[in-house]
Symmetry: C3
Subunit: 221 residues, 3 copies
């Protein structure tokens, strides 16, 4: 199940490019969330953009014990995150015309981080199952922190498909590595599958089943 040499690691040019693209997408998403939902000023907008962009990777690196997180050692991540936040702040009216942009940026970040998170876990020697889980945690981490900070119930707990596409995308990467497929192929297939499931879920409002008996009233404080 080890994938040395074949998986997309975050130090290869391809892995870095995918990771930075995911960082940029989440920075745009987080900053737009700050503008539209929480109505923050420029410092808050850029800060929330950076936290959303960098949060997943920081959680991933903490759980892997790869400390300090690559964020704090590699300025390309910080500049990409800050740049995304500033661009979203400046262009938010223009981006607004693309009404679904906030959701699409989130889905892009989700797909890219599921792939790079799983690849990094494989590189560090974790088993395939752990790599799938860590990919999913990386993918949903930044958005979950974002939602907690602006006081929303995190998307990962809400109805639309969110954790499932992340798990699916990470699984593709792990399977591709086990089959010795080229890392690029696994990464693109994984990210594509995650993005597809997520956007279909958003578009069709496909929700996962609800519990039998359902929730009636708040019986708990």
């Amino acid at each position: 199940m080890s994938a040395a040499g074949t998986s997309v690691n975050t130090t290869s040019p391809l892995g870095l490019a995918l990771d930075l693209a995911g960082t940029f997408a989440f920075a745009l998403n987080g900053a737009l969330t700050a503008v539209r939902v929480a109505r923050l000023d420029i410092v808050g907008v850029v800060t929330l953009g950076m936290i959303t962009a960098l949060g997943g990777g920081i959680v991933r690196d903490v759980l892997l014990g790869a400390l300090p997180p690559s964020t704090f050692l590699d300025w390309r991540y910080l500049l990409t995150a800050a740049g995304g936040g500033l661009i979203a702040f400046a262009l938010n009216r223009q981006l607004d015309r693309l009404a679904i942009s906030i959701t699409v940026f989130d889905a892009l970040g989700l797909a890219l981080f599921a792939v790079t998170g799983a690849a990094k876990a494989l590189d560090l020697g974790l088993g395939g199952g752990q790599a799938v889980l860590l990919g999913a945690v990386t993918a949903v981490g930044g958005g979950t922190i974002r939602d907690v900070l602006v006081r929303r119930v995190p998307t990962v707990l809400q109805s639309e498909l969110y954790a499932i596409p992340a798990l699916a995308g990470a699984t593709v990467v792990v399977v591709a590595a086990a089959l010795d497929l080229p890392g690029l192929l696994g990464a693109l297939l994984g990210a594509g599958l995650c993005l597809l499931i997520r956007l279909v879920g958003v578009g069709l409002r496909i929700d996962a089943p609800r519990p039998p008996g359902g929730p009636e009233h708040d019986r708990e404080r």
Copy 2:
């Protein structure tokens, strides 16, 4: 104060059994919380169950520097957490007849994690005081993350006794280890004491004293 050989560590069969039992109790609690309070679908229910079940141990392992957390290396924890979440999702109406079940599962998880958290800290060479604190952090960690995610003020900050029984249970484990008592005895006494204090507190609504002058109005944003 070192307890090598006598404390209940999480690699011994007993320690593992206690740790998995705590994981299962918190998974049931977290999943029931998701059904009743936050009204989530199956993915959200299982996810919140797993986060509640695994959160305390992950915080413990991060603080101990024992990374990656055992959760990501040992599938028994993941399967136990996922299983608890699925069972609570499927049986939530039946479990509902036991009206207080959600609180009892929480108290069980609290008691078991206070004990195993303190034991793991002793195993890794921390002093007795640190082990008590880490046991309490392990015990309250998962439930605190759960409450933040569903937007409640965490139980650990609210009135009923919560941090105190966790500290008491962890203290029993540390004292038992210092006295060279068998690990099983210390673990059972500690968990029993924690459970007793917690359930008495819940039953009698014993609250800790409130500040002199009391809170009058929100004077702070």
Copy 3:
């Protein structure tokens, strides 16, 4: 950019004194927040005081990989945090007469932790830029966790200057170390600058610019 021997590290008497002073200020602030905003009992008040006081340093040490966090190895931090929480609980009416005390304690903690966080990062060999960022994370970390736990949008995302003075204070420490100035001078200048900017910002309600087009209505769930 290395600053061995000149920066204020947290093991020198001066560094320790500044770090403990910051811990005490944040413990008072967190405990007063618990009394006034969240109306908690004594356990909740002391717990929130301790989390606010210790949270920033724990986040710093986790990100640096300096585990277990110094908090769990050094009782002076725990006792200072607990003492601050208890004092605030007992004297909250007296402290209340100093109407702005809650904000001033927060600003003091912010200034002191920005300085000691940056110094610790330099001591552990991180570059100047990373040290600035880590100082700021240390400074805003405890208060951010406090706000999440009592369900407020964190101050760091809100309008008044908060992240900027922390970055400024940490920058002074890094520049002073690069210029081989005495650590005490850099620390005092950095903390003073941070405190000044923060209090001027609070006093004059200077807000950072808001986005063009501004937030109109909640267009997002």
